[in-house]
């Protein structure tokens, strides 16, 4: 085959993936960056270059800061707990116990359910007076609480629900990693007199690190991508107490039609996620053993 032909073949093979990536990832990203430096077009005012005006407006916007801080606490509240729970559950259902298939299925169910259904289940749990939590509290004579209506409790409610949903999903990855671990590693350790905890600390945990990195990145991206549950449960309220970045972008873009400001917020979100992923890969990569 001549060199020119090989080049053509190469581009043809690359083509479909390249077109899709460019059309739906690269171009929108560049367009977003472009829009963030321009004003939003209105009926008789076309879009013009405004420099960093959008960014200045964002810094002056208290809702943005509130969403960013909420998102930070949301990530801190959900990620460590759900990842740790996922690992614990995986270790447990990896044991030889009766009915473990059902147990695994039970843990995975929250992930299978549609997000709106999940939101509705939890909406019932959190309902004042006759919701599940208040009924249980009622048994102990505690007064009714408007869980989702109080700025002090609403973010916590979202965190609890997210942990419930994510832990089972992450468990599957840990379970797969545990299953691929040769059983005679544990036997070799048992002959040396290695206890369960020591074996976990010295062998299982380090060998799970690639999975942990993968799960962590997914968890962080997930924490900043959370929108559907918030829309279904609280729409960001009360008083922006459950406002997260992506919910805010959705509001700005599709309720207020301020495309330029939404683009600005999106650039910030992308920058945060890109930085986090980079740090994780650079810092953790060195300490991880890949098989």
């Amino acid at each position: 085959m001549s060199k020119a032909r090989a080049t053509i073949y190469g581009w043809l093979l690359l083509g479909p993936a390249f077109v899709l990536l460019a059309a739906f990832t690269h171009w929108p990203a560049i367009a977003t960056l472009y829009h963030s430096f321009h004003s939003t077009a209105r009926r008789n005012r076309p879009s013009v270059y405004v420099g960093v005006d959008n960014y200045q407006g964002m810094i002056d916007d208290p809702v943005f800061w509130q969403a960013l801080i909420n998102n930070f606490w949301y990530a801190v509240g959900t990620i460590p707990v759900s990842v740790a729970l996922a690992m614990l559950m995986a270790l447990w259902v990896n044991e030889k116990l009766a009915g473990r298939t059902w147990l695994r299925l039970a843990y995975f169910t929250p992930t299978v359910l549609p997000m709106i259904a999940v939101a509705n289940i939890w909406l019932f749990f959190y309902t004042p007076d006759y919701g599940l939590f208040d009924q249980i509290r009622g048994l102990f004579g505690l007064r009714a609480t408007n869980w989702l209506g109080e700025p002090g409790t609403v973010l916590g409610c979202l965190i609890v629900m997210t942990i419930w949903k994510e832990a089972g999903f992450f468990m599957i990855f840990y379970l797969a990693a545990l299953q691929s671990m040769p059983p005679n590693l544990a036997e070799a350790a048992a002959i040396e007199g290695c206890g369960r905890w020591t074996f976990f600390r010295r062998v299982t945990f380090p060998l799970l690190m690639p999975t942990t990195l993968f799960v962590l990145i997914n968890a962080i991206i997930g924490a900043f991508r959370m929108v559907d549950h918030v829309v279904a449960l609280t729409a960001g309220g009360p008083n922006n107490a459950s406002m997260l970045l992506l919910v805010m972008i959705y509001d700005v873009a599709f309720r207020y039609w301020d495309v330029a400001y939404a683009a600005t917020l999106t650039v910030v979100l992308l920058a945060i996620l890109g930085t986090v992923a980079l740090i994780q890969f650079v810092v953790l990569e060195k300490r991880i053993h890949y098989r």
Binding site: N184, E187, E192, C194, G195, P206
Partner: protein
């Protein structure tokens, strides 16, 4: 120095008897091989001795102490696994010292033992490598190193050489035997390879279907196989075993009360029609270099003779086969057991 005594050991899974009524003794400092075809229960037996499985009956004593109910770590054993079971994220040195760290052996002593083992096994330059950066033979040495530094009086090995190529297997065979002698460990070694058993063992425990077929030294096993199975399992090529008719001659059809066994190297090829010789027809000839294997048919039986050098015989030729009275082994076909040698 510890001896290992297994008494009436059994491991049943429901109606399946992986091991049943197994008893034997391994003297302190000796090398015992558990030999048998796959599925005979030899690995199960080793895992029972290690404490990785629980027996359904019988007892195991190590150095006079009943260890049947003890966890593996309390039995005074080290073990080398078929797949080596190295920790992939730890370096060679960390792998070798893992057990010592777990047992809280102090750092100076750990270092001393590691250096000695590394020198013994030629691993000194590889101590910082990860298992994935080692060849199969080097990984095998690391697994051996882990067993050595434990300084356990009894060492168990589960087909440790089966993942190595033929050349390396030969070298490691000699090396393991040498190590066992030097460190005067009691070794229990599982293999399905009769050559490994013959070359390394002081004592061979031949297993079949969860029972002991014969427990003897290699030369005894070779010279006086207790059963037809043992006769056919040992030797390359194995012993010829042919059915005998009621008159004590090689039967014309399959089946008969008795069977006759004779080793290929004990058969002498003589001219056809030689008085007293078995008259047979050559079926195939296999030239091996140092010697030639001649397969000949007599009645329902097929006899292989091993003759030195290159034999000048064609397939289809009529030949005579002869052997001495002492080379003959007589078995009972119904029980499969050896019939007591006639008094000389």
């Amino acid at each position: 120095m510890s001896d290992v005594v297994v008494e009436n050991l059994a491991r049943h899974w429901g109606p399946t008897k992986a091991l049943d009524g197994v008893s034997f003794k391994v003297e302190a400092g000796s090398f015992a091989v558990l030999l048998g075809p796959s599925g005979c229960g030899k690995s199960t037996l080793l895992r029972l001795i290690a404490g990785l499985e629980t027996p359904t009956g019988g007892s195991i004593r190590i150095a006079g102490k009943d260890v049947t109910g003890l966890p593996p770590a309390k039995r005074g054993i080290a073990m080398v696994f078929q797949s080596y079971a190295l920790f992939p994220h730890l370096s060679v040195a960390q792998n070798i010292c893992f057990g010592l760290e777990v047992r809280h052996v102090d750092a100076a002593e750990r270092k001393r033992r590691l250096e000695r083992a590394a020198e013994l096994l030629g691993l000194t330059k590889l101590l910082d490598r990860k298992p994935s950066q080692l060849s199969g033979g080097q990984q095998q040495r690391v697994a051996l190193g882990r067993a050595i530094v434990a300084q356990a009086p009894v060492c168990l090995m589960d087909e440790p050489l089966s993942n190595l190529d033929a050349q390396l297997r030969h070298e490691m065979r000699l090396e393991i035997r040498e190590l066992q002698r030097r460190l005067s460990m009691t070794m229990i070694y599982v293999t399905h390879d009769q050559v490994e058993a013959m070359t390394m063992a002081d004592q061979v425990v031949l297993l079949r279907d969860g029972r002991i077929e014969q427990d003897a030294a290699p030369d005894e096993l070779y010279a006086n196989p207790a059963t037809i199975f043992a006769a056919r399992f040992i030797g390359t090529p194995p012993m010829n075993v042919v059915d005998l008719d009621d008159a004590g001659h090689i039967a014309e059809t399959q089946g008969g009360a008795g069977a006759l066994g004779v080793r290929p190297e004990d058969i002498v090829v003589v001219p056809h029609e030689t008085p007293g010789a078995i008259q047979a027809r050559v079926e195939s000839i296999e030239y091996l270099g140092a010697d030639t294997l001649i397969a000949a048919r007599k009645g329902a039986g097929r006899l292989v003779a091993r003759v030195p050098g290159k034999a000048k015989i064609e397939a289809g030729a009529a030949i005579g086969l002869a052997w001495t009275q002492e080379a003959q082994h007589i078995f009972d076909n119904r029980t499969g057991r050896r019939v007591a040698d006639p008094p000389a």
